[in-house]
């Protein structure tokens, strides 16, 4: 079953068309990787899925994007609810300058949970879910900015999990991290796909091969190829995909 269905979607920044006629169905409880050279539109497309592009002035979008059958741009859709269902982890870890606890509790509090016992439970299960509970359980009241980069990124994943999303969008979540932190995040992501649908932008093709079930290859604002990762990398259908993954350009 697909969580997100995109039909004939185009996006403009002012006069510049950044995405051309994208069609894709993102399958449930799996990891979909978006690959492609810098500036190919993969991050832009990712940010369209939870309407983060709304924050950028001058963006125009046409076409149809459905989350579980609902048009995400329809008037009835509350964008805050949409972002609650479709969480996001950013390229650079961006914990708030607050305690670890308050970081995790930020989302639930935003959506109206104030009960201390309930919040404690959510914080613990989110931190466990992001495999960071054991490292931070004794310093929940400490400022999150004192953690290492890798820990901060897992904290951000935990923060996203705390609002119980269905989908996690990850925008190059390991590009600012060292190799050890990167492999921990990769392991975590593979565990998370049992419960969540994950869409991950990566510029690292080995990472796409290691982690993802499906791969979408973007080039110059077009979705060139989309399929099972194993197929895309072993028998690419499109010459451009082959050229890219064999390192002829990029």
């Amino acid at each position: 079953m697909s969580m997100i269905t995109v039909k004939d979607m185009c996006l403009w920044y002012g006069d510049h068309q950044a995405l051309h006629h994208i069609n894709i169905e993102i399958p449930e409880k799996s990891i979909t990787a978006f690959i492609g050279p810098s500036g190919c539109g993969k991050s832009t497309f990712l940010k369209t899925l939870n309407r983060m592009n709304d924050l950028i002035p001058g963006v125009k979008i046409t076409g149809d994007i459905r989350y579980e059958g609902t048009d995400i741009f329809s008037r009835e859709v509350d964008v805050n609810n949409l972002r609650k269902k479709i969480g996001m982890v950013f390229q650079k870890p961006n914990p708030f300058p607050m305690s670890i606890y308050d970081n995790i509790a930020y989302g639930p509090r935003t959506h109206g949970i104030t009960n201390k016992v309930q919040l404690d439970e959510i914080v613990e299960s989110a931190l466990r879910g992001a495999a960071i509970w054991d490292e931070v359980k004794d310093r929940l009241k400490k400022n999150a900015l004192g953690m290492s980069g890798g820990q901060q990124q897992r904290l951000c994943i935990a923060r996203a999990l705390a609002v119980q999303p269905k989908i996690l969008l990850m925008d190059e979540p390991t590009s600012a991290l060292d190799p050890i932190s990167t492999s921990r995040i990769e392991e975590l992501v593979m565990e998370l796909k049992e419960k969540y649908t994950i869409v991950m932008v990566t510029h690292n093709m080995q990472q796409a091969v290691r982690v993802s079930d499906y791969t979408a290859f973007f080039l110059l604002g077009e979705l060139v190829e989309f399929g099972k990762t194993d197929d895309s990398f072993s028998q690419p259908q499109d010459k451009r995909t082959e050229d890219y993954i064999t390192g002829r350009f990029g």
Partner: protein
């Protein structure tokens, strides 16, 4: 090449330039020091407990600056109370909500210009706008100072809002927070230092203001409570300084006030530095 000494001509030129710069530093420091020492020497001997704790009386022919101190406190409080919500609110709207960059640019430019206008013009406008309707009173003076300090508060808050990393906003929006929640929980805490710096700058400006108040707040020296005080005419310390020196020839009192104002200014600058240090430390954590 490398171990060749500089030519004599270049050497003496270097020496000359160094000397000139030393001279300018010495002059600057000497002037500041002279002013400080002169005012303090003239002023401090005239500061007595009686001066600080009484009001002037024609019967006993004594001078006290208690009413002026109180008036200063009232006008500072009233002005900040009005200007803070206005300035901070405007800054938040302009940086976080407004989408028309052109209009924002125009308002910012107007604010910059406004903060460079001589204060006597504010006084003139304040007199026509406020004093003509509500009478000459501290409140009219305070409202005039509000207009005067609005750009300062707005600009410092805006600058500080711009230093809050965009990634914080994205993170909060990504969790489904609405605009106001993002502003209140993530953006505002990050700009408190800017607001406080703006406040301190404004207090300094209010303390030093005379021209705008001469027109609007009057010269009375009566001891009042805050509410009555704001409704009545009154002189602040700076205005009192002018009156005592220029109209009554009481230079001792004038210098006493000057010394007090100077010490206050030093304290305010010190507080500003302290606040900035505190927040820089908290931010770098």
């Amino acid at each position: 090449m490398l171990n060749q000494a500089l030519s004599n001509k270049r050497k003496s030129f270097e020496l000359l330039m160094k000397g000139l710069m030393l001279l300018s530093v010495a002059l600057t420091a000497a002037l500041t020091l002279f002013l400080l020492v002169y005012v303090l020497l003239q002023g401090i001997p005239n500061i007595t407990w009686e001066l600080l704790s009484t009001k002037p009386s024609y019967l006993t022919e004594s001078i006290g600056i208690l009413p002026d101190i109180l008036n200063t406190v009232y006008i500072v409080l009233a002005t900040l109370l009005i200007v803070l919500p206005l300035g901070v609110g405007a800054a938040i709207y302009l940086t976080e909500y407004a989408t028309n960059r052109k209009v924002v640019g125009m308002i910012e430019y107007a604010a910059e210009t406004l903060s460079g206008i001589p204060s006597i013009i504010y006084g003139l406008v304040g007199m026509l706008l406020f004093s003509n309707h509500m009478g000459t009173c501290l409140m009219a003076g305070s409202l005039t100072l509000v207009i005067m300090n609005l750009p300062t508060i707005m600009r410092t808050t805006q600058e500080s809002l711009k230093t809050v990393p965009q990634s914080y906003r994205e993170g909060a929006f990504g969790l489904g927070a609405g605009k106001w929640r993002v502003v209140r929980t993530v953006v505002l805490p990050g700009c408190v230092d800017g607001v406080i710096t703006g406040c301190i700058l404004s207090v300094g400006r209010i303390l030093g203001e005379s021209a705008a108040l001469l027109f609007t707040a009057g010269f009375a020296h009566a001891v009042n409570g805050m509410m009555d005080g704001l409704a009545a005419p009154g002189a602040t310390l700076t205005v009192a300084l002018y009156v005592y020196a220029k109209e009554q020839g009481e230079f001792g009192v004038a210098f006493a006030i000057a010394a007090i104002l100077m010490v206050l200014t030093v304290l305010i600058n010190f507080a500003a530095a302290l606040v900035q240090k505190y927040f820089a430390k908290r931010r770098s954590l």
